[in-house]
Amino acid sequence: MSIAHLTRPQRWDLPFDPEMDESDVASLLERPEIIAINAAAFPDHTPFAGILKNDTRIVHFKAGDIVVREGDYGNSAFLILSGKLRVIVGDYPDVLSGRNRTGKKGFFATISQIWTNTNIPEARNTEKLKLQAVRSGDSRGTRNSRQSNPTRVFVRDISAVLDECSTVQEGEGELFGELAALGRTPRTATVFAETDLTLLEVRWQGLREIRRFDDRFRRTIDRRYRQNALLVHLSETALFSNLDEEVLGRIAEATLFETYGTFEWHVSFQRLLSSGQRGVEHEPVIARQGDYADGLLMIRAGFARVAIEFGSGQRTLTYLGAGDTFGLEELYAAWKDGETVSLGASLSALGYVDILRVPAQVVEEYVFPEIASPPSKTVDGGNRAMAKDALLEWAVEERFINATKSMLIDLNRCVRCDDCVRACASTHGGNPRFIRHGKTFDHWMVATACMHCTDPVCMIGCPTGAIHRSEVGGTVVINDETCTGCATCASACPYNNIRMVEIRNKRGVSLVDPESNRPILKATKCDLCYANPGAPACVRACPHKALSRVDFQRETLVEGNLV
């Protein structure tokens, strides 16, 4: 039998910026804020210099360029090497966002679609496209920092923005964006370059290593998180809502932060799909059934599967998302009866999950005296008929759990008339924004339509912030006018629900970039008809009630029907 050899891929095979060289690292190592990190604490296999070389890049911004936007998802933090930037506090003008703040269409705008819709595919108003404050660059969107002319949204009149908005100035040596990067949460503020700016961008993997090996950095990050986010998070959690600020502070001090799985779960998930390696046995275990519950586990970001041993495998009872807790029943029972109670189910990471672990003694001291018996959520699940959980098991395997509005079609009702597709086209200038085809399970099909994910990995890396959540309802939408057609979002979507299309002008002539002679592309996807009055047109248009937009966590099967 012949054997092919392939070197096992290594962590730094793909550096953040291939052009980072030894001289860059050497100059970084002379900076006071970098010297403050204890390089000697890093192990030989992950030296600090290696992190700087492979997990960071130097990025240059011109005055006015937007660095990050409020609401964006990003997986890196920034250290200011030179120049000044402004953090906008509170409201900001539309031009800063790279987004459209389109409200609902009025009556006449809705009616006018009858005659403005065209048979020309993907026709655009080219005049409107030219008005955007986007500093043009390579529309194919390499993310390489040394790219001479990267595409960015910029502020045309900085002084006007400074007059209009409340801002805070940050200068050399300041670190920002680390909490959003580590916690996979949206950016909480918009930041733009006030002067020409040089930043050191540190990707999530590097941040994680620095936090792991440098005590001072970890303490700083943890303190910032505890001060800025954890207290708010705890106070918004139902379990802690009755506690006063002082007690919440003590709980926050004792809380441990843990991360399981990989941040780029969508990439590894696609690899798993192609290799056929799926199932709970391939997932990192957070807590094992039968083990002693040593703390209350709170999901801060990502998803986790709750499963029990069943037959020769594992049976999924449910999955948990941000804000859910695990182990509460067992801890409460142990506290009340004074006996050790083992966990009734296992918890494993579905892709990536960020956990807050509140130690058992803290929960017993501050929380349990204040609450009645917690409702049993997981233990009874094993008594249900297996068929009732089949759809959930499938949704978890396919990661459709990430969806808040997946397009689920009941094939036993669907007459394949395509009224849904035509309705979609009628609200999008004559272009449908989904494909009535997709993965099937029994008589259910999840069509190829944007699912408006809880964890929208498509939003990571958009150079202009064109893909974003709408202000009302949190629908993931794309601002066609600032989309540069780089396809970062389409490549990142684990479900292939974003399509790149070649656009035309109103006369049907294909638009081509004169420099590269390549067609102008735009990312397109379902936007839940967010600008149109009424519910999504596809749902309203189905005469047989075959199509619905669902969140799998809230659905269950009864006699084969979704309720």
Binding site: I114, C414, V415, S426, T427, G534, A541, H544
Partner: protein, 241 residues
């Protein structure tokens, strides 16, 4: 002579009912407007369609009217109702039959899928002849399977839910299997698998096609009925004045 009061009333009711039924098609074309859910419209379309039958009998006071124009109207009305009932029934049953195939295909892509399956089948048979140096399977392919793979087959059988196609495929497999050696049988197994896949696609083609085409009967009939009814309405009102 003035119209008899009840005929006038049922006539207006009939016209109003038909206009409402026709509006369902308008609703479908104006999906960008908030005009209610199409499912509610369909329910009303079916209920009021049945109601229209009763109103028609009340209006004409007979199942089969006398004059030529009235006969034309009656034929169109009955055919429209019949096509509506047929459409409703097939839309209730065909989706389940399609789901039972275990595959899902887009109607417009079916010719492409069939073409791919045919190429795969022909390549398989050629390889069999080439590798085994025997042309039995090739001959059988030309005598039977070639007909089957050339385009969608057993349309009528699929429409009425018959198992004829499955039986035909089983028969074609049995007919030739006894003359094949072990190597050839492996090729026949693969060919039968492709044929079963083609049969499932044929079923989709037939049923999806039927569910699309019944509207091509129902809507023109309904349109013609509307035109004739409107003319009837005008004539009757002009002469009644």
């Amino acid at each position: 002579m003035p119209l008899e009061g009840s005929s006038e009333l049922t006539g207006y009711l009939m016209l109003g009912t038909m206009i409402f039924l026709a509006l369902f098609n308008v609703r479908k074309r104006l999906s960008m407007l908030v005009l209610g859910n199409a499912s509610t419209w369909l329910t009303l379309h079916v209920v009021i369609g049945v109601f229209a039958l009763a109103v028609y009998w009340l209006h004409t006071r007979t199942i089969w009217p006398g004059g030529m124009y009235e006969k034309a109207l009656a034929i169109l009305f009955y055919l429209t109702v019949l096509s509506g009932i047929v459409g409703y029934v097939i839309q209730r049953f065909y989706p389940r039959l399609m789901t039972q195939t275990g595959i899902e295909v887009i109607f417009e892509r079916i010719p492409l899928y069939i073409s791919e399956l045919r190429q795969e089948a022909e390549a398989l048979v050629l390889e069999c002849c080439d590798k085994t140096r025997v042309d039995t399977l090739g001959r059988h392919y030309l005598e039977s399977y070639q007909w089957f793979f050339s385009r969608p087959r057993f349309t009528f059988n699929h429409i009425v839910g018959s198992q004829r196609s499955r039986q035909w495929l089983k028969h074609q497999d049995e007919v030739v299997r006894r003359y094949l050696n072990e190597d050839e049988r492996k090729y026949l197994d693969d060919l039968s698998r492709l044929a079963r896949q083609k049969e499932r696609i044929d079923l989709h083609y037939t049923l999806q096609g039927a569910m699309k085409r019944w509207l091509l009967v129902h809507i023109p009939l309904a349109a013609a009925l509307m035109v004739l009814s409107f003319w009837h309405f005008l004539v009757v009102n002009v002469y009644s004045l």
